[in-house]
């Protein structure tokens, strides 16, 4: 999300507007999405927290869980969002700058509310955590190893990890199974795969081969390339349990 509208980029660049927040939220609710995640991608690069007026409007509309991410840098930021009706808050860049934020959030709200989002880039030195990924001009390597960070955030109280594999994001060539499998081996909390979904087979592969708890996608749903009911039908046919 940027400036009240939903946008989607390719590999974190060239974001374009894809629709109004409430319209999309209602559409995905009706199609049978199991959870929605709202990323305010410009919040952290601009040094501000999310504009929260839309959180309550989304909460009134939705009867499924949703998570809000973007520039949440304090317990108070998180409290306002949770009080407005979100189930979970997700921290990414602010947790890299201040890892103890994760401890404070988990202590105050419980681990179940605290999602840590990790934007992981594949580099010659291995998987690296990137920061400020909402703005290509400000995106930078946090100098942290992704798998070490997966371990650390759990020790600090993360109740869920969303691993967004940047090299795959928006490409529709499939999830980064190898990276997700490595994270899974270290991850005792729910692990959500993100980045690269392009076909129902990609979802099937990430559940089967990386044993993730959930798969997140944006491009293919925003564009209508995959509808949620048809995706759930193919997953059920493949023997993967889905809510219908």
């Amino acid at each position: 999300m940027r400036d009240g509208q939903v946008v989607k980029g390719v590999r974190f660049r060239e974001h374009r507007v894809v629709g109004d927040i409430l319209d999309l939220a209602a559409r995905y609710r009706d199609e049978g999405a199991d959870e929605l995640v709202f990323y305010d991608i410009t919040a952290s690069p601009e040094g501000r927290s999310v504009d929260r007026s839309w959180v309550a409007r989304v909460a009134r509309l939705l009867d499924i869980p949703f998570c809000v991410a973007g520039g949440i840098g304090s317990v108070q930021d998180a409290e306002e969002i949770l009080n407005a009706g979100a189930e979970k808050i997700s921290v990414n860049s602010p947790a890299l700058a201040d890892p103890e934020l994760i401890d404070r959030l988990a202590e105050r709200f419980g681990a179940q509310c605290v999602v840590v989002g990790i934007d992981s880039q594949t580099t010659p030195e291995g998987y690296r955590v990137y920061q400020f990924t909402g703005d290509p001009a400000r995106t930078r390597d946090s100098r942290r190893d992704t798998l070490a960070w997966v371990r650390e955030v759990q020790q600090r109280g993360a109740g869920e990890i969303v691993l967004n594999c940047m090299a795959s994001d928006g490409t529709r060539h499939g999830y980064d199974i190898e990276q997700l499998r490595r994270a899974r081996a270290l991850c005792a909390v729910p692990l959500v795969a993100s980045g690269g979904a392009g076909s129902p087979a990609h979802f099937e592969a990430v559940f089967r081969d990386a044993q993730v708890d959930a798969a997140l996608a944006a491009s293919v749903f925003h564009s209508g390339a995959i509808t949620i009911p048809s995706l759930k039908q193919s997953l059920a046919t493949a023997g993967i349990e889905v809510r219908r």
Binding site: R29, G32, D34, A56, A59, R60, L62, D63, I64, P65, E79, L82, N83, A84, G85, A86, E87, F109, G110, A111, Q112, C113, G159, E160, C187, A188, V189, P190, L191, Q211, D213, A214, R243, R244
Partner: protein
């Protein structure tokens, strides 16, 4: 006199009162959030929500005297998630004495490979006893859970759920109902449970 669709939501200090309120309002209820023992004692229906830690929530209830008011209520009460757990005698979370309305103790979920704790996600209800709160639910309805502690299946259990082992998903004794899952975030199945709660006779269940 209050209208029958009035619901008092007890402000037990945790976040997440808003989504319960919105869910009840979508079904036509008029809600008010309160920690005033008099207002809650006079309400035709009461919801005890809760997100957070058991010890903290009990401290807040004791601080306002609600710990003695709640067990004496004779109207339909619905505990949600931590609110359900507080209805039991004791919680292992912070070794906390609770309200004692329901028999039994809350235990920590144990982690095992493939079963992360906290338990977060959609899971199917297994009704054990016919109950008005579970009316009109489809078989094996999916509902949304978020919790690290749980009530073992016991005398008060009216529906269970499997997560490694079975535990209580829905409990009841007399006019006290409780759900471990979040009906406000459980799509149509959750709305049906709330609709059933709003349809319970206000006179209580005796």
């Amino acid at each position: 006199m209050s209208a029958p669709l009035d619901v008092a939501i007890i402000d037990s200090g945790g976040a997440n009162l808003a989504s319960l309120r919105y869910a009840l309002e979508r079904l036509g209820a008029r809600t008010h959030v309160s920690r005033d023992p008099e207002a809650i004692g006079a309400a035709p229906r009461v919801v005890l929500p809760g997100v957070g830690a058991a010890a903290d929530a009990m401290r807040r209830l004791r601080g306002t005297g609600l710990d003695t008011v709640i067990p004496r209520l004779r109207v339909p009460l619905l505990g949600v998630c931590l609110g359900m757990q507080l209805l039991f005698e004791h919680s292992a979370e912070g070794d906390t004495p609770c309200l004692g309305v329901l028999p039994g103790r809350i235990e920590r979920l144990t982690t095992s490979p493939g079963l992360p704790v906290p338990h977060m996600g959609w899971n199917t209800l297994e009704p054990l006893v016919a109950d008005p709160l579970l009316a009109e639910l489809p078989a094996a309805a999916y509902v949304y859970f978020v919790h690290g502690y749980a009530a073992p299946v016991g005398a008060a259990t009216i529906a269970g759920v499997q997560y490694g082992r079975p535990f209580s998903a829905v409990v009841r004794r007399d006019n006290f109902w409780g759900v471990q899952f979040h009906p406000e975030r459980s799509a149509k199945a959750g709305a049906q449970v709330l609709r059933n709660f709003l349809a319970l006779p206000v006179a209580g269940s005796a």
